[in-house]
């Protein structure tokens, strides 16, 4: 992904693993962790670009307060990835700037 991951999970023989994609790249992570944790251990450093300056941002608090970890999950923009557990087959995308209405309605027929 972006570069070397900031964090890694030492091999402890985690029983289950799930596969998620981020902007089209697939990676396998232990089941039960948050989407934010999954992205951090998979080398994603830029979760979103900021709404005003368009600069890279990444999680700060990991507890649902700072809203820096926002990504699009399965077509829904501006999800707090630190609060969402990973699920197999999840499609995650980088959030570019503020959430847009047309993003929110994608995948739904009128």
């Amino acid at each position: 992904m972006d570069t070397e991951a900031l964090f890694s999970i030492p091999q402890t023989g985690e029983p289950e693993a799930v596969t998620v994609t981020f902007d089209g790249s697939a990676f396998t992570v232990p089941a039960g962790i948050s989407v934010a944790a999954a992205l951090l251990v998979s080398g994603v450093r830029e979760f979103r670009s900021s709404a005003v300056g368009g600069v890279p941002r990444a999680p700060y608090c990991m507890m649902g307060v700072c809203f820096e970890c926002l990504v699009e999950i399965d077509g829904v923009p501006a999800r707090q990835s630190c609060l969402v557990p990973v699920k197999d087959g999840m499609v995650v995308r980088r959030q570019i700037g503020a959430a847009h209405l047309d993003d929110a309605s994608s995948g739904e027929e009128p």
């Binding site: 900021s50 709404a51 700060y60 608090c61 649902g64 307060v65």
Partner: protein, 455 residues
């Protein structure tokens, strides 16, 4: 919308919420607990039910202590709704939340707000770069997934959690490049008078000293009394520079973990219109409650770190005391001796607090950035210099900064800039924080999608 009801609705499954639930169930109240996380435990006991034994060993005995409370909670007969994001609490006890993409309502004859603490903002140059996180965030990663830093990591700031994380990293075999401590010399002097009282909380004191000596024994470079912290890097962190005894120091790092204590997460209490006052010791807003945590004449109560920072053990006791008071309000006979015993416990667990507040009081420069370029409102990217300019133009308080430049109007709804904005304006105006005030927090206190209402 459903017509669900309960004697007690609790928001938050940290120590205060879980203990309150157990106590209330023992009095035979119907109890529903909502938490936005997938698992119980809050932040302090995050993942307590699923963390493997080797990870629990690394995290230490204080974390392991959460297992018993979690198991009591599971056996208490409380109804627990996980992944339930509360966006409104009304004065009549109705609580609106979103669960699985549906907005629902439950009415509590009483509601206990136990939303816990959050990392105190640490606004310094470069703190918005990818690769800067709160020490609490890194600890959550360790508890939740066993994740450890890969590259060079520097821990900076002050407070027990910072030293605890360093110790946990050492136990896990991770290398800590440096611990850059911002505790000021004057803080030791100010803390000294509280030292005698703290000795009565000697267990906590001994634990802290043991931590610090373990870090030194393991050769973690410890830079005491550091100031003028700047995180360097363009798009990502490249290092931390700071001043120490007049000398400039720079430590290369890919990850910088910041911490200067935790503050109550008061978003919920503010949103109910409850009165708050500025606490000069903890340097934050605290909701005004009676002795048992009740907000005015409402059916709403507050317990734990969201009422004032007291720590996990005292939070649990406070949750139990609130449950007893709620029981009384419902006309349930409670045991006076039980209450007395809990009050004694609470005292014992908080002996050390005034000492900690004084010793780890974040320095002014780390709360009120003097560099005008430092981003304060991370969501709308408003800087300290801009906020001071608003004051020059006549801005009196945080609410008005919204009109001047959208400060505090981003998705975090002011959670992460509010304290800093209050203090910057107070300093610029030469006024007390209480006079400057806070943002007007309104529901929905979490983003809700319109679609959540139609299902």
């Amino acid at each position: 919308m459903s017509n669900a009801e309960a004697d007690l609705v609790i928001i938050g499954s940290g120590p205060a919420g879980m203990a309150a639930a157990c106590e209330a169930r023992a009095l035979d109240m119907s109890v529903v607990l909502l938490d936005e996380q997938a698992d119980i435990g809050g932040q302090i006991y995050r993942n307590i039910e699923s963390a493997p034994t080797d990870r629990v060993d690394i995290l230490g005995k204080d974390y392991e202590a959460g297992r018993r409370l979690a198991s009591d909670f599971r056996n208490s007969g409380v109804r627990h709704l996980c992944g339930a994001v509360v966006w409104n609490v009304a004065l009549d006890g109705s609580v609106d939340y979103v669960e699985n993409g549906r907005s629902q309502q439950i009415v509590g004859r009483n509601v206990l707000l136990a939303s816990g603490a959050m990392e105190r903002p640490f606004p310094i140059a470069g703190w918005t770069l990818a690769g800067v996180m709160g020490a609490g965030a890194a600890q959550i990663l360790l508890k939740g997934s066993g994740a450890l830093p890969n590259g060079p990591v520097v821990l900076a700031g002050c407070g027990p959690l910072l030293y605890l994380l360093a110790w946990q990293y050492l136990r896990a075999g991770a290398r800590v490049e440096a611990l850059v401590d911002t505790t000021a010399m004057s803080a030791y002097v100010h803390a000294a008078p509280y030292g005698v009282a703290a000795l009565r909380g000697w267990r906590d004191l001994a634990k802290g000293l043991k931590l610090l000596s373990a870090l030194k024994r393991h050769g973690v470079p410890f830079f005491s009394r550091s100031s003028e912290l700047v995180i360097e890097g363009d798009k990502q962190v490249e290092g931390l520079s700071f001043k120490r005894r007049g000398r400039s120091v720079r430590i290369p790092a890919s990850l910088v973990l910041l911490h200067q204590g935790v503050v109550p997460n008061t978003q919920l209490t503010w949103s109910t219109g409850a009165a708050h006052h500025w606490d000069a010791h903890q340097l934050c807003w605290l909701p005004e409650t009676d002795a048992w945590g009740r907000l005015g004449e409402t059916p709403l109560y507050v317990a734990g770190d969201s009422r004032a920072i007291v720590g996990a053990q005292a939070s649990a006791v406070q949750g139990r005391l609130a449950a007893l008071a709620i029981g009384e309000r419902l006309g349930i006979k409670t045991d006076a001796a039980r209450r007395e015993a809990l009050l004694r416990q609470f005292k014992r667990y908080t002996h050390i607090r005034p000492f900690l507040n004084a010793l780890y009081r974040p320095t002014d420069e780390n709360r009120i950035p003097q560099d005008p370029g430092v981003v304060v409102c991370r969501c709308e990217e408003v800087t300290a210099g801009q906020i001071r300019r608003y004051v020059e133009l006549g801005c009196l308080g945080p609410n008005q900064t919204k009109a001047f430049g959208r400060c505090g109007m981003g998705l975090c709804q002011g959670r992460f800039c509010g304290l800093t904005v209050t203090e910057i304006i107070a300093q610029a105006r030469g006024a007390a924080p209480e006079e400057v005030g806070y943002y007007r927090i309104r529901p929905p206190i979490k983003p809700v999608m319109l679609g959540d209402f139609v299902h």
